[in-house]
């Protein structure tokens, strides 16, 4: 089933206002504001330590924020009870970790990993769950006969693809990704990127993707946010930002003068 949602929605899916997170005296991210529209892919780039992961984990509710507001589908995320937020996290949201070990259950078979979110929302028919798991393994190019193998036996690229399948199986409305291609060999990265691009296009996913790799956002992101020292220094359409950067830091970033 491919759900391409390209209708003109009249409210953003996610509205972020003045989001700030400090680690003691150190700034994690400061005064971040943006809107994400349904079906949009937002890339967050910046050098290491610029606050990308901090921002993403605050958005996903993985850690508390110090100031600001997050609205998902009009609902105030920070005012939600933990129960509501965790329910959101296993239904409407998905989170792909840089290290697949953080996002997979290493002691559970590939099929069980993909099926977990289905069972978490009440699926109780084994045959259906297995059928959906098989379908999703196929979509992320994992052979059907690996369904009962544990991810330990998988290569890094396969583990990452499995993590993606596990996250997308319940049709989340918003996907967070933190350096999904990081830590992989270059050739493996390219294949994963192609796969991600296909999924994003076919499913019309709304994605916030954090990366330090400009090639990733050039391929995937509709819009770009550039971060430096915890703050957003520039945002705009991906092509605009990359081809005609306005901020001096972005110019450095794009010209590859900065080794990020």
């Amino acid at each position: 089933m491919s759900i391409v949602q390209r209708m003109a929605p009249d409210t953003p899916l996610l509205q972020v206002d003045g989001l700030t997170k400090r680690y003691g005296a150190r700034i994690g991210c400061a005064d971040v504001s943006f809107d994400l529209w349904p079906g949009e892919v937002l890339g967050i780039v910046g050098e290491s330590g610029s606050g990308k992961s901090t921002l993403l984990s605050c958005l996903a509710g993985h850690q508390p924020t110090d100031a600001g507001r997050i609205r998902f589908d009009g609902r105030d995320v920070l005012a939600m009870s933990e129960t509501e937020r965790r329910r959101l996290a296993r239904t409407d949201w998905a989170y792909v970790h840089q290290n697949p070990r953080d996002g997979l259950r290493m002691g559970v078979s590939a099929g069980g990993n993909v099926g977990e979110r289905l069972m978490a929302v009440g699926a109780r028919n084994y045959g259906d769950i297995r059928g959906k798991a098989l379908d999703w393994l196929g979509r992320v190019e994992i052979a059907a006969d690996r369904i009962d193998d544990r991810p330990r036996a998988f290569s890094g690229g396969m583990q990452q693809r499995l993590q993606i399948a596990r996250n997308l199986v319940t049709g989340p409305r918003l996907v967070f990704m933190d350096e999904p291609t990081g830590g992989l060999d270059v050739s493996v990265q390219a294949r994963l990127l192609d796969l991600l691009r296909g999924l994003v296009r076919d499913l019309g996913l709304s994605v916030i993707i954090v990366t330090h790799d400009l090639a990733v956002v050039r391929l995937l992101a509709d819009r770009l946010m550039v971060m430096k020292s915890g703050r957003v220094v520039e945002q705009g359409l991906t092509d605009q930002v990359l081809d005609d950067p306005q901020h001096a830091y972005t110019q450095l970033l794009v010209s590859s003068v900065l080794q990020v």
């Binding site: 965790r86 296993r90 078979s109 069980g112 069972m119 978490a120 109780r124 084994y126 009962d148």
Partner: protein
């Protein structure tokens, strides 16, 4: 004869009160694991110190105690716990399920239906049903609090994926009163249906893990399953070779070096009672062939 060096039933009154408070809370919130300050007992942890402490907190001088291990009254574990309470509490003991007011058990529920007024105390090694897939205690507590039990079905899914069916045959997870998922201790799943709507009080004590939980009389207990792989309370497809019972849980006993075997009731009191009433199985002495 009570050994005067000990308080009644070994534990001091303050400890017993602490355990009773935990028990009352556990009964008020069926299936919920209540932490308690487990005491050192004069026996190793594997010997059911959790159950022993619960029994000690419940015993009164008028009680009649039965202790079983895997259904049998005469195993080392059962005998030593029974002796322990004879010595420290001076209570009457019995092997007859129907005569006991408190039954401490490891790994079985008696075949004879329990009645109102009886207390069944389970020895529990691992109280947390989610432990297998989520080792972090902070996380499992959160999952219970928020009723996030999808993981329990992942465990059953893994079972079917690996064995073609739900192979879990002991400690089969249940949901209590539609709320808490609970580990019924390593009883065979054959016994699971007896957990539900039981007139007796069922108390569970985990000594090493310092947890107490409970099922009040007549509460609803449902074994988890899938629509297309429903729960089945299975047993060996045989009748008891001694008493002929068709519907009791059986132990397989190897009888000789040549692979000879027999099936006998794991509940020794139940089996003896049936034999005394004239029932006979395939291999009963002087029984029908």
């Amino acid at each position: 004869m009570t050994d005067q060096a000990y308080n009644f039933a070994y534990l001091d009154e303050q400890t017993k009160r602490m355990i009773r408070r935990a028990l009352l809370k556990a009964l008020a919130v069926p299936g919920y694991q209540v932490p308690f300050a487990s005491r050192e007992m004069p026996m190793p942890y594997g010997w059911g110190t959790g159950g022993v402490q619960v029994t000690a907190a419940c015993l009164t001088p008028e009680d009649v105690l039965k202790v079983i291990d895997q259904g049998a009254d005469d195993t080392t574990n059962a005998v030593s716990i029974r002796k322990f309470f004879q010595r420290t509490a001076g209570v009457a003991v019995t092997e007859a399920t129907g005569e006991a007011t408190i039954i401490q058990t490891r790994h079985r529920i008696p075949e004879q239906p329990l009645k109102a007024g009886q207390i069944l105390v389970y020895q529990v090694p691992i109280p947390e049903p989610l432990r297998f897939l989520e080792p972090r205690e902070t996380e499992t507590r959160k999952m219970h609090e928020l009723e996030e039990y999808g993981l329990m079905h992942v465990k059953l899914y893994e079972d079917i994926a690996r064995h073609g069916q739900i192979a879990t045959s002991y400690a089969y997870p249940v949901k209590v009163e539609g709320r808490y998922v609970m580990d019924p201790s390593p009883i065979p799943k054959f016994d699971n249906p007896k957990l539900s709507v039981n007139p007796a009080i069922q108390l569970f004590g985990a000594g090493r893990e310092q947890r107490i939980y409970a099922l009040p009389p007549f509460c609803n207990v449902v074994s988890l399953d899938f629509d297309d792989h429903p729960f089945r309370a299975t047993k060996a497809a045989h009748d008891c070779d001694l008493c002929g019972a068709k519907d009791s849980y059986l132990d397989e006993v190897i009888t000789d070096d040549a692979g000879g075997r027999m099936y006998v009731c794991s509940d020794t009191d139940f089996c003896a009672g049936r034999q005394a009433a004239g029932h006979a199985g395939r291999l009963a002495a002087g029984g029908k062939a």
